[in-house]
């Protein structure tokens, strides 16, 4: 079997007395979409911060294409091809949409002209073509989410970490963005997503990890996770099992 | 060699000076703890208060210690108004702008004082300024002893306000979690202004304690505030207890370094300490880890 793009081996991270991530191991296969679910405060975002270099684990190893990248700073992670989006969109508020994407595009295009063209292309690809010259702080929530994706995408990642890109969107906006994510995957980008919108998880993910109180408590295909009422009831709340079942039936 | 009694005298003198640093720093750290900015106008406000205490004595014969009773509330109001009507609205919620506005205020206040009173250095002579307690190895001037005592009274009063009053609870809530405080209906602009007022009241009192034994000119407050910056950083930005301990510690450090290095280099000692603390432990020696 081929080397996984991302392999996390027994990673832990503690904040004072709180063990936010506790002995977590997981892997993401090349070109797949992996979902990370679990209740609030389970340590999902902390795990992303560890993978993207914003936090250093207290123990454990993070491998990217087999190489140990455990203590690398965020900018080097991005250079290796790991891009992340933030749960709360982090636009460069004073800049236009085009300039926002340009920051990411410059990572692979040192020359201004090439970077501008690349940024423009990414913008159009994510449906922000009409918004390119707008200041980023005038965008709607849905557009901000797209911008967050566009910035990350402009760095030409091979591994994309999406932290709740669907949160706060209405059903029709979610319907619009799901194919975008799938298209990225089809282009060969490996995706790991933290997501609460279960229908999307069911539709997109190939493999699901369930995180609770810092530990992985279950993993498997979406069908397997959905069929595990214990997991679902305990960690996603009452009624979640039916919802998942319903989503699968669609 | 230096005899032990000189060293003890240096420590005692350092503690007495340090208490005044602590008082100036208290105001600064309180403002930082809540607004998360360094108030660069703190020194100019101290100078203004020193002029006020000076003229209260010169024109009306009001004893500086008595003047403190008036100047503390007066400077509370000044501080409140500055934050509420100038610093707050001007900065558009941007910390960097807030820094610049306090700097601009410092320039305006300091030079307005220079314009009105010129660069002359003024002092007052109190009948009891030279009396004090003679410990044999050290002489403790009365004004500085009073200053030492009052600092602790003020610190205690601040602590009471913060822990036992409604506005104190609101201040602490805003310091901890501004957004949350806003959501439960706390008027953040008001709390900011009250905090700024309390911090400014501290320099109002400090000025009255300083004027009997120091001089005043349009830049007199700056020296104290530069030291107070160090105290605040040393004690952990935002920590009242830290400011108190830090102030006393800096007083002793300064007293020792001017004993061994001379006046000017003694000052360098403080700044070097300041830079080292900032670089190595930006949360201060007593501050909580971020």
């Amino acid at each position: 079997m081929a080397e996984p793009v991302l392999a996390i081996e027994r990673v832990s991270r503690r904040f004072g007395g709180l063990l936010a991530v506790n002995d977590v191991s997981l892997a993401a296969r090349d070109g797949s979409i992996t979902a990370l679910i679990g209740p609030n405060g389970a340590g999902k975002t902390t795990l992303f911060a560890l993978i993207s270099g914003f936090l250093k684990p207290n123990s454990g190893t993070i491998r990217y294409h087999g190489a140990d990248v455990t203590n690398e700073p965020p900018h080097r992670m991005a250079r290796y091809g790991i891009a992340r989006t933030f749960q709360i969109a982090q636009p460069f508020a004073g800049l236009t949409v085009h300039e926002n994407i340009l920051v990411g595009a410059h990572l692979r295009h040192p020359a201004r002209r090439a970077a501008i063209a690349a940024a423009e292309q990414v913008g159009h690809e994510l449906g922000l073509g009409a918004r390119l010259d707008r200041p980023a702080n005038t965008l709607t929530v849905a557009e901000r989410k797209r911008l967050e994706l566009a910035k990350a995408l402009a760095t030409q990642p091979t591994l994309l970490l999406l932290d709740e890109v669907l949160a706060g969107l209405n059903p029709s906006e979610i319907r619009d963005i799901v194919p975008v994510i799938r298209a990225l995957c089809r282009r060969g980008i490996t995706i790991v997503m933290i997501e609460h919108v279960m229908q999307a998880v069911m539709r997109l993910a190939e493999h699901v990890f369930v995180l609770a109180e810092g530990r992985i408590i279950a993993e498997g295909s979406p069908a397997q996770i959905a069929a595990d009422p214990g997991v679902v009831e305990a960690y996603l709340g009452r009624g979640a099992a039916e919802k998942l079942g319903g989503a699968r039936a669609n | 060699m230096l005899s032990p009694s000189i060293l003890v005298a240096a420590i005692v003198n350092g503690l007495l000076t340090g208490a005044l640093y602590a008082l100036v720093a208290l105001g600064l750290t309180l403002i930082y703890g809540v607004l998360h900015i360094i108030n660069f106008a703190h020194g100019a406000l101290l100078t203004a208060a020193m002029f006020a205490a000076y003229f209260a004595y010169r024109w009306f014969g009001i004893d500086p210690y008595l003047a403190a009773v008036v100047l503390a509330p007066a400077f509370f109001v000044i501080g409140y108004a500055l934050q509420r009507f100038i610093v707050g609205p001007t900065s558009h919620g941007d910390d960097r702008n807030m820094l610049l506005v306090t700097l601009g205020l410092a320039v305006v206040i300091e030079n307005a004082l220079l314009f009105v009173f010129r660069a002359d250095t003024r002092t007052i002579d109190l009948s009891y300024a030279l009396s004090g307690v003679d410990l044999g190895f050290a002489f403790l001037p009365l004004p500085r002893l009073i200053g030492f005592g009052v600092t602790f009274v003020v610190a205690f009063a601040l602590w009471l306000i913060l822990s036992a009053t409604d506005i104190g609870h609101a201040i602490r809530a805003v310091a901890k979690e501004k957004l949350g405080a806003e959501l439960v209906g706390i008027d953040v602009a008001h709390v900011y202004a009250v905090t700024f007022g309390l911090g400014t009241a501290c320099v109002g009192i400090a000025a009255c304690l300083l004027i009997p034994s120091y001089y005043v000119n349009p830049s007199a407050g700056n020296a104290f505030v530069l030291v107070a910056f160090t105290v605040v950083v040393l004690g952990g930005m935002g920590s009242v207890l830290g400011a108190l301990i830090g102030g006393l510690a800096i007083g002793v450090v300064e007293s020792f370094s001017s004993l061994f290095l001379g006046e000017s280099l003694g000052q360098i000692g403080i700044f070097v300490l300041f830079i080292v603390v900032l670089l190595v432990r930006p949360n201060g020696l007593f501050g909580a880890q971020a």
């Binding site: 460069f92 340009l102 707008r134 | 307005a112 670089l279 190595v280």
Partner: protein, 327 residues
């Protein structure tokens, strides 16, 4: 080259001023304003584009001034070489201060304080160290020859400082249009987001501080050649640090021409205040500066240039374009 056209236009227009037969007093005013502009241009690279508000740019100005003066006076170094080394000294101080502070992750108030403290340490050191002449200061010998970088004519000094300002304008414009500039602005707007996109924020800030230090130091170097005297207060005084940030903030923070415009306005206002009071009002010019600073932040947070662009886009109804990052 097209992107530098506005810079050349402004500089050429300003270069013509001495040919109009203006008085020496006016030229002197312009020279002093351009020194402030140059110091502010240095601040603008780090503060305006990088968002790191230094309150201690006197550290660079003073180092440039002292290196230029001391090398000539004590070591007999040629003035031109001393000038260049002075700029290098500013860059070096930038590297040291930046290396220490950015590695410790100091931002905001902390960064302002630590830069202020560095400037104060240098000021006190310079006021006691024998090599700087201590409290007496250092006097550069009058020697009106090109080799000694001293000129009989005010106009030549004016062209010299204008040339330095022009270089700084070009450097700023090129930064604005480069990858480094885009990353620097990204750091200003959101450091975490920049990091996530592969920006080595520490390295970017450090580089900005070195460039910033070099430009502001150049102002100090020129100051010494022009006035032939320096002491610790003139070199490292708090006022230098304040003026270095005042000019870009008032003119337009993070814009190419902001510091130049700001310096002319600020100095003009100061001169006006002095004329109104007949020079008998110490501190009044600074009161005016302080008020202008507060008013600008209040009503035109992007400075005069920002206010102007906003006004123009409101009139013409145009949207932002990629070319300008801010205003």
């Amino acid at each position: 080259m097209k992107e530098l056209a506005p810079v050349f236009a402004v500089v050429i227009a300003m270069a013509a001023v001495p040919l109009l037969g203006v008085s020496n007093v006016t030229l002197n005013f312009l020279v002093v304003a351009l020194i402030a502009a140059l110091a502010g241009q240095g601040w603008n690279v780090l503060g305006g584009y990088g968002g790191q508000y230094s309150f201690g740019h006197a550290a660079f100005f003073g180092t440039g001034a002292y290196v230029t003066a001391v090398l000539q006076v004590r070591y007999g170094v040629n003035a031109w070489i001393a000038f260049a080394l002075g700029i290098g000294g500013g860059a070096l101080v930038g590297a040291v201060v930046g290396g220490l502070t950015f590695r410790s992750g100091l931002r905001g108030s902390y960064f302002a304080l630590v830069t202020l403290a560095f400037a104060e340490v240098l000021r006190i050191s310079a006021s006691v160290a024998p090599i700087t002449g201590g409290g007496v200061g250092t006097l550069v010998k009058l020697d009106l020859h090109v080799v000694a970088l001293q000129f009989q004519s005010r106009a030549v000094f004016y062209w010299m400082i204008l040339a330095l300002v022009a270089v700084a304008l070009i450097v700023t414009r090129l930064i604005e249009r480069s990858r480094f500039g885009v990353w620097l602005i990204a750091v200003r707007e959101n450091e975490d987001a920049a990091m996530a996109l592969g920006v080595n924020t520490t390295a970017v800030k450090l580089a900005a501080m070195v460039i910033s230090g070099a430009i502001t130091a150049a102002a100090g170097c020129f100051y010494v050649q022009y006035f032939l005297f320096i002491d610790s207060g003139l070199a490292y005084g708090t006022w230098i640090s304040i003026e270095a940030l005042l000019t870009p903030i008032i003119g337009g923070v993070g814009t190419v021409f902001g510091p130049l415009l700001g310096a002319l306005v600020v100095r003009g206002l100061g001169e006006g205040a002095r004329m109104v009071t007949g020079g008998e009002a110490p501190g009044l010019d600074l009161v005016v500066y302080g008020c202008v600073l507060v008013l600008i932040i209040w009503f035109a947070p992007r400075g005069l240039i920002g206010a102007f662009t906003q006004l123009r886009s409101r009139v013409m109804g145009s949207a932002g374009i990629v070319e300008t990052s801010r205003g």
